[in-house]
Amino acid sequence: MRAAPASVDALQRWFQAAVMHPGGAEVAAEARAIRRLLPARAQRLEDLLLPSARMNARERLDVYASSYFLRLRDVLKLDFAGVAHALGDDAFDDLMREYVTRRPSTSFNLNDYGADVPGFIARKSRVRAVDQRRAFLAELATLERAVEEVFHAPQAAPVALERLQSIPPDRWTDAVFSTIPALRVFQFSFPVNGYLQAVIDKQAPSVPPRMATWTAVYRKGWKPWRARLSREQYLLLLALMRGRPLGAAIAAVVRTGSRGDSKAARERKAEAIFGQLGAWFQEWTAEGIFREIRV
């Protein structure tokens, strides 16, 4: 007599858990957590799946199980080529297996699957090779993730250079510069942008020592770009992205890290920034990072 069929839900929960098990189908078949999900009074995997002429039931299930991890790893390797280089194939696979196991995808959108990788590296991963260079890898992953984000970010028409040039000199400090959605700025404690470029250029770079760096990631046309920033440029863009008028943004740049400076020192700093503003804004406008200038 045929046993009652498993419900759609119970059978799928068991099948999915077995496919997603990090040990593959053979290990999953014996794993207590997976066996507990066996539906319809099944005692073992073979009560649910049949062999073929050339493969037993476990081998057949493993066609799905083995490709599950490889597929997601390959997607993440494209998104995090720098991290993959820094770790090497085996350690990267360990990291990805850990990530795929602990953070299964919950969206149809694979572009977002790597969104948690930087935080996972920073706070969760127990892979030994990650632990040895955690801060560097987390920053590198943050940069790589930003490239993916700006690639898919909403498109916004940038303002033309003429719009910048039309601002009366006496209104500059009141001007509010809205940036495009496809812009991110970062302060890093490692030179991760240079490292990533060296990976892309196939220069096989080594993990660099600590060094403060500042980077913008933005999309020009349809292509993501990474640009080195000075500390002042980073702070200024950050303040502008927070909606501050230019005058207030410059004041914020001058204040940052200036505790204990004399008033004269601060004024010199402000003057130095003012002296470079024209060139900075010409370049940034030409790169298309502003979508609106309100005066």
Binding site: L50, A53, V150
Partner: protein, 295 residues
């Protein structure tokens, strides 16, 4: 004798699955491809270059949509947010039709990003018929569902895959995307005969055909879309074309993708079968004697 397509969908001719490595050739040279099939999810949740690309392609070519994340067979509730995005994309690219697979891709909120199999029994059929009808109501158009390549056999299955899919199409009143490579792959993996498979197919439901290559692992075949179409698959295609009188045909190539020229040349191998299917009284080109497909 040609069988009219139940929904009146036209035979769009010979098309290609749109792949990013071919974007520049397609946009710059507008090669004489009859139509393109886009992978639905590649153009959802992005406002970057992919959307710009698909708009350009849709401006020059007829487009059909093929999804991998509808998750039709899941026990989870329908993802209405996903369906809304699919519907919006279909309107944006003026999709001639849209479809997905007879499978589930995840349950309990997780996504395997794989086309996981369902048992071919009455319970699952009823479930899929109900869901297909719901999706068609939401999308306000018939779905075109593809026979998947499968690697396991559920003990609780009570009918042949082709019978299951045929009944699903008839009872849910949807179209079929007949993947002739998947027929070959599944026949190899399950010990079926392609002729037996085709005997169950309601050809008036067939809207589109897929051709592709696969990887023969010896013990089983995997639907990798990484190689040219093999002879036996061309034979199955020829038979499908003969029985339908000609259906829109897409060549899929997803891994180790060759140049556009090579891909296009592979697609052109379908032309003699297509013409043979369309011209009354003409016979399909002679192919080598059939080989028995065994598991």
């Amino acid at each position: 004798m040609a069988i009219r397509n139940r929904f009146g969908f036209p035979d769009l001719g010979l098309g290609l699955g749109l792949r990013s490595v071919h974007y520049s050739t397609i946009l710059e040279q507008h090669p004489p491809v009859d139509f393109f099939e886009i992978l639905t999810e590649n153009y959802l949740d992005t406002e970057g270059r992919p959307v710009w690309i698909v708009d350009q392609v849709a401006a020059h070519y007829p487009v059909v949509m093929h999804g991998v994340s509808l998750n039709l067979g899941t026990a989870d509730p329908l993802d209405r947010a996903y369906l809304a995005k699919v519907k919006a994309l279909a309107e944006r690219v003026k999709a001639r039709w849209l479809g997905d697979h007879v499978c589930f891709t995840g349950v309990a909120g997780k996504n395997s990003h794989d086309l996981l199999p369902v048992p071919y029994d009455e319970t699952t059929l009823k479930h899929l018929v109900r869901r297909t009808k719901q999706v068609q109501e939401i999308l306000e158009r018939p779905l075109v569902l593809e026979n998947p390549s499968t690697y396991v056999t559920f003990k609780q299955s009570t009918m042949h895959e082709a019978e299951f899919i045929g009944r699903l199409a008839n009872e849910a009143d949807c179209g079929l995307l007949l993947d002739v490579n998947n027929i070959y792959v599944s026949c190899r993996n399950h010990g079926w005969e392609p002729d037996e498979y085709l005997a169950h197919v309601p050809f008036d439901r067939v809207t589109q055909i897929h051709i592709a290559g696969h990887t023969d692992k010896g013990t089983h075949c995997v639907d990798t879309h990484s190689k040219p179409v093999i002879e036996r698959v061309w034979e199955i295609y020829a038979e499908a074309e003969r029985r339908t009188g000609g259906r829109s045909t897409i060549l899929e190539w997803d891994d180790d993708i060759p140049s556009f020229e090579v891909t296009f040349a592979e697609l052109q191998k379908a032309a003699p079968f297509k013409n043979a299917g369309k011209a009354p009284g003409r016979r399909a080109p002679k192919r080598p004697a059939r080989t028995k497909v065994v598991a």
